[in-house]
Amino acid sequence: MSKGLSVAVGGLALVIVGVSLASVMPRTSNQGYAPTQPIPFSHKIHAGDNKIPCQYCHSDVEKSRHAGLPSTAVCMNCHKVVKTTSPLIQQVKKAWDEGRAIEWVRVHELPDFVYFPHKRHLAAGLACQTCHGEVQTMDKVYQFGALTMGWCMECHRGRSTPSNVLEGIEAKGWPNGEGQAAPQQCTTCHY
């Protein structure tokens, strides 16, 4: 076989392998992912029925990149007196008494090379539900947004940006003159 032919055959084989791989490869998005949690915590009961503000538990969200997960102490603020007989609450109580942290399964996760600040998005006037869906109706939380880069850029380019956010930006203007909807530099999120 001549060298040229072998390269061509090899190339073709690679293409075939590539296409067939692509058809079986998982999508890069985990949209819809709804893992079972160690204790079946219901956001519907807490944020929906009882109207506890999101930030009562996710208290770092306005201050930091991370929204933060409530410490067991936050659970116990209420559950020292509320529903103390429920077997699920007793699981929380047991962990609390033992000083053991509850290991939740992470639902929303970005790759290590993405730096997403919750704080700036809240400051721009985004509601939690825009990205996380109607969490107050979810018994079991699932990943609502695609969390892919294209999904982020839709909003940053002003295509799916909520109107209150756009108005706010127009009214205020960004102090460093970044203009339009939201910054779209690579280094905005990747560093």
Binding site: S64, E103, Y191
Partner: protein
């Protein structure tokens, strides 16, 4: 891209008409034969070396281990990839909240705690993320650090997470292994022993390094009071003992003076590397540079600069920064010093002391090879500066001959005669009062141990078996002590021969204070809970006092026997209440002690006025220590020295320090024998030849490094290597060279040696030839006279094109908001290397190991290029920090096939890791050679607990990814975030890159160049400003300021240069 070369050296075919390059990297470049050798061209064109150029013997422990681990992980990775193929499902990640979240912690936001490094006594701010410290910075409030810390201090963060730290108490059987023991059992056994000693002869000795905190010292003494003959012995580092001895001789006080370099117009260093590792070198560097090294660009004709003369045997950082440098044999330092002293006396019209009479200009000049007029020039400069306007500083290992105290006395004589004493040399106001014990005390301890008159020896963070020259016989003496307890961070050489190892806290886990010298009081507080089962030394003493009912004195007894078990924290607080409590109100802060304590913890320092300085009177009889003029030994003499990175080797297990290129030799990972090019040529030795060094029966083999600027008869080696029990990183790296030190004279320099070639080769991991460009003009260094005549003088770069706008084929980028830029002042940069480690810590840059450095794969984003100019016997040095230039027309951006490196609208040349596919085209096209490629998953070298040192704000890069300086984009984001919260633009200098933050001399200035009023914008238009390789029209965002040297006789030199001759 080869137009505008200054030499066309690539095409040299014969020696006829050969002009060496003005700036050279190694002495071989000065020979025409180097350039005509075809291998040269090939080597210089090579970006990476496929394999080490020559693979050679000696120790390869770390590397082989690395490869094995790598193979294993590759297999693991492959099997994991297959597993995930089978059931395409995301890995399940846990998210674990606190049980009770500490009030002060907000996830993702760093807290800063003020503390103090007990080793260097610099005040620190520890950056703590979610309860773990990830970076150290200088405390701006601290009078010594002023925000800057050394490379060594930065690297402490890695020591904290060192995998080889002792993790629990161990019972050791004197060199025959060890086994874990509980604290309770260890205490039981030891308390019983101590009780027996206390009721008997009570000969307990505590041996520590010099302790700089009052509270620990006091506790130690109070503990020892329980024993009839308890004694505390403090070791000083060998580079400083003579300094103190000299002070005792000349002034009668056991202090190390503090030097006010900012006030000195002329500095004469007699062997002391005050910009490298002598005293508080960061503080000295800052004072020296800011006090008179930056010529006034606004009024160049009248610009003034201070002047630095250095006399030394091994080229040090200070020598590299000197305006005039005298390379001499170790004994020549004293001889030149004496000749200058005699000349100064003559010039001042005082009678020349008889001890100097033999040191005539003619004799010293003939002996040292330094021209007489240069010696008189130095003397006249010192006198000409006026009273109290100069500093003579002497010391350091490489001048520590048998007559080192004589050298100190000469320096003291000069300082007193020139009126510096009490003005620039502060021996009582701010002097270092905490100095080690005199050498006799150590000698007495060893002889006591030998004669069996020591009952128990407690070692505190001391490793005398390694750190003392073996000829002092400590090891044998220790074997005669019935009980030896090592309280330290690991089972080191000494601890292995002890009875117990009681692991001490790392200083970032412990309380403490430091009062190293007049006017400085700082606090040390823990920044995390102890990682391992360790216990503070101080708590150990308190426990023993209580459990053994030992009759300790004072506060120790009170605290230890208090109702609720008193801790070291209680002791420290009580001691502070006693010492500073009354003054609390006068601090103008808070009346109650609790509030004062809280304030002090927050600030890290308390302001205590230093006593006023006054001149001490020089004791003339001390001149008797000046030895009679001795003829030099024939043949080679050895000078030992301490590297700025490795120092005495106590932290040899720190990979950052091992891989930090030495500022002068640019070597990593090993020590070696430095020899002058001339001597090497005479002996037929080449770089990397393994040589045998013999001195009175002691023989070692060590590789050779050819080092310009050494006296022909001098060879020099660094101490701090050849550790045997420090851990998996440092064990077996280099050779322990203290074997050449005579235990009674303790001379570290001036040792006659014989050198022979072994015929073997060992490739040193030297970075100097890495990233070499094709001899393009990239650095400017000019003399003060040239600066005065025209501050825009270029020594090398093309003046026609400097800072000019050149038409470009690319459309201009738009910068609507900020545009980031940097200036680096080559006059301020001393080459210390602190920025390299600060960058490494901030940006998660991995270490790659010796073998990868040999292949030019080191990952430092910031490197410091060192160029020589002038003759190889005594070259001038210029240091040029080199990092990504963030070019406007970046050559890397145009060649990336996947747009992984792009320009952003703030002028950053951004590298997007997730897009990068690793073609390395960008690296190939970068004229500055600042891009770094991850050939392997280098991050895996951070094993186990070392993972905790990563900065969570920066992506950890994997194999196959290109990376480079980002201008600390995470810091930019963070600062902009704060400014946005307040609805304003960033203020100038509010945002600092990691390298800028730690630069003691403020050589690096970063800011917005869109705003013409910022510091960086002003400096960009400075008369000295130039950009590297402007001829390529890359338009870098970094500009450099030319190096200006204050050379005497510069007019002559300038004439020579115009005549087409090479300067020198």
């Amino acid at each position: 891209m080869s137009e505008n070369h200054n030499s066309g050296l690539e095409n040299v075919t014969s020696t006829a008409g050969f002009t060496p390059p003005r700036h050279w990297i190694g002495s071989e470049e000065l020979n025409a034969s180097y350039w005509s050798d075809p291998a040269t061209k090939e080597k210089r064109a090579q970006e990476f070396y496929d394999k080490p150029l020559e693979t050679i013997e000696l120790i390869e422990k770390l590397d082989t281990k690395g490869i094995k681990r790598r193979d294993f992980l590759t297999l693991m990775g492959a099997s994991m990839a297959m597993a995930s193929f089978a059931c395409a499902r995301r890995p399940v990640h846990k998210i674990i909240p606190y049980v009770v979240k500490p009030e002060e912690i907000t996830g993702g936001i760093a807290n800063y705690y003020a503390t103090t490094c007990p080793e260097t006594v610099y005040g620190l701010l520890a950056k703590v993320r979610e309860g773990r410290p990830i970076k150290l910075e200088g405390n701006p409030e601290h009078a010594m650090s002023r925000g800057a810390i050394s490379a060594r201090t930065h690297a402490h963060i890695l020591d904290l997470y060192d995998m080889d730290r002792a993790k629990e108490p161990m019972k050791v059987s004197r060199g025959r292994g060890s086994k874990p023991i509980t604290w309770v059992d260890a205490d039981l056994e030891l308390v019983a022993k101590l009780k027996a000693v206390a009721s008997g002869s009570g000969r307990v000795r505590i041996l520590s390094n010099r302790l700089l905190g009052d509270s620990t010292l006091k506790l130690t003494n109070e503990f020892l009071a329980a024993f009839a003959a308890g004694q505390h012995v403090q070791l000083d580092d060998f580079g400083s003992t003579d300094l103190v001895e000299g002070q005792i001789e000349s002034y009668g006080t056991a202090v190390a003076p503090h030097y006010h370099f900012a006030k000195a117009d002329v500095v004469l260093s007699l062997g002391a590397d005050f910009l490298g590792n002598f005293g508080s070198s960061e503080e000295y560097s800052a004072d020296w540079v800011k006090g008179g090294r930056i010529p006034d660009a606004k009024n160049p004709a009248a610009a003034r600069m201070s002047k630095l003369f250095t006399v030394e045997s091994m080229m040090s950082v200070t020598g590299a920064n000197a305006d005039v440098r005298f390379p001499v044999r170790p004994d020549g330092v004293l001889k030149i010093g004496a000749a200058i002293a005699a000349e100064v006396a003559r010039k001042k019209g005082v009678s020349v002391p008889a001890q100097f009479s033999a040191y005539t200009l003619a004799a010293v000049s003939a002996d040292t090879g330094i021209e007489a007029e240069k010696i008189t020039e130095a003397a006249h400069a010192l006198v000409g500066a006026g009273a109290g306007k100069s500093i003579i500083v002497a010391g350091g290992l490489s001048s520590k001959t048998e007559d080192a105290i004589g050298l100190q006395v000469i320096a003291n004589y000069l300082n007193s005669t020139l009126g510096n004493e009490g003005v620039t040399v502060d021996g009582n106001g701010q002097a270092w009062t905490k100095v080690g014990d005199r050498p006799e005390k150590l000698a007495k301890l060893i002889s006591d141990m030998n004669s069996g008159s020591v009952d128990a020896l407690i070692l505190l963070d001391a490793n005398p078996v390694y750190s003392l020259p073996p000829s002092m016989g400590f090891t044998a003496a220790m074997a005669k002590v019935p009980t030896v307890v090592s309280i330290g961070d690991r089972e080191d050489e000494t601890a292995k021969l002890a009875d117990f190892v009681l692991p001490n806290h790392h200083f970032l886990e412990n309380w403490g204070d430091a009062q190293p010298r007049g006017g400085i009081v700082s606090l040390q507080q823990p920044t995390l809970a102890p990682i391992h089962s360790t216990r503070a030394y101080q708590d150990t003493l308190l426990t023993w006092i209580k459990q053994g009912a030992l009759k300790a004195k004072g506060l120790a007894a009170t605290v230890a026997n208090s109702e609720k078990d008193g801790t070291w924290h209680d002791y420290l607080k009580a001691n502070w209440k006693e010492t500073y409590g009354k003054g609390a109100a006068s601090q103008g802060k808070s009346a109650s002690f609790e509030a004062f304590w809280e304030d002090s913890l927050r600030e890290g320092v308390i302001k205590v006025p230093a006593k006023a300085t006054s001149a001490r009177s020089f004791k003339v009889p001390s001149l008797a220590k000046v030895p009679p003029f001795k003829a030099p030994a024939s043949g080679f003499v050895l000078a030992l020295y301490a590297k700025t990175s490795m120092a005495d080797g106590n932290r040899a297990n720190n990979p950052w320090l091992q891989e930090l290129p030495d500022p002068v030799t640019t070597a990593t990972w090993d020590n070696y024998l430095n020899m002058s090019p001339k001597a090497a040529e005479k002996m037929g030795l080449r770089q990397d030849d393994v040589v045998t060094i013999t001195s009175s029966g002691t023989v070692i083999d060590i590789p050779l490094n050819i080092q310009p600027g050494l006296h022909e008869n001098v060879v020099a080696m660094a101490i701090g290597y050849g550790r045997e029990a420090v851990g998996h990183v440092g064990d077996g790296v280099g050779r322990d060279v203290k074997v050449f030190v005579n235990g009674s004279t303790l001379a570290f320099a001036g040792i006659p040696v014989v050198i022979a070639n072994t015929g073997r080769r060992y490739q040193l991991a030297v970075t100097q030839w890495h990233n070499a460009t094709e001899n393009r003009p990239i650095v400017n260094d000019i003399t003060l006279a040239e600066f005065r005549a025209d501050p825009k003088t270029s020594s090398e770069t093309d003046p026609e094109i400097r800072l000019k706008e050149v038409p470009s084929m690319w459309p201009k980028h738009e910068y609507p908001g900020y545009r980031w830029g940097m200036t680096i002042d080559l006059n301020a940069c001393t080459g210390c290397g602190s920025c390299i480690i600060a960058c490494q810590s901030e940006n998660n840059t991995p270490v790659v190991g010796r073998d990868n450095v040999r292949r030019s794969r080191e990952m430092h984003w910031m490197r410091i290029d060192r160029y020589y100019s002038g003759p190889a016997e005594n070259p001038d040095v210029v240091f040029q920090p080199m990092l990504c230039q963030h070019c406007e027309n970046a050559p890397c951006e145009t060649v990336c096939p996947v747009l992984a490196t792009v320009h952003d609208n703030e002028g950053l040349n951004s590298q997007i890791y997730n897009r990068c596919v690793g073609t390395r085209y960008c690296q190939n096209n970068c004229p500055y050679k600042v891009r770094r490629f991850n050939f392997f998953d280098h991050w895996k070298s951070y094993e186990g607990s070392m993972n905790l040192a990563w900065n969570p704000d920066v992506t950890v890069r994997t194999r196959g990814i290109m990376e480079k300086c980002t201008f600390c984009v995470q810091r930019i984001r963070d600062s902009k975030d704060k400014a946005k919260d307040e609805g304003r633009k960033l203020r100038d200098l509010e945002l600092k890159t990691a390298c800028q933050q730690t630069c003691p001399t403020d050589a690096i200035i970063f800011g917005d160049i869109n705003d013409p009023k910022t510091e960086v914008s002003l400096l960009r238009n400075d008369n000295r400003a130039f950009r590297v390789l402007e001829v390529l029209n890359t338009v870098p965002s970094i500009s450099y300021l030319s190096k200006v040297r204050n050379k005497p006789g510069e007019e002559k030199e300038k004439a020579g240069k115009e005549g087409g001759e090479h300067h020198g």
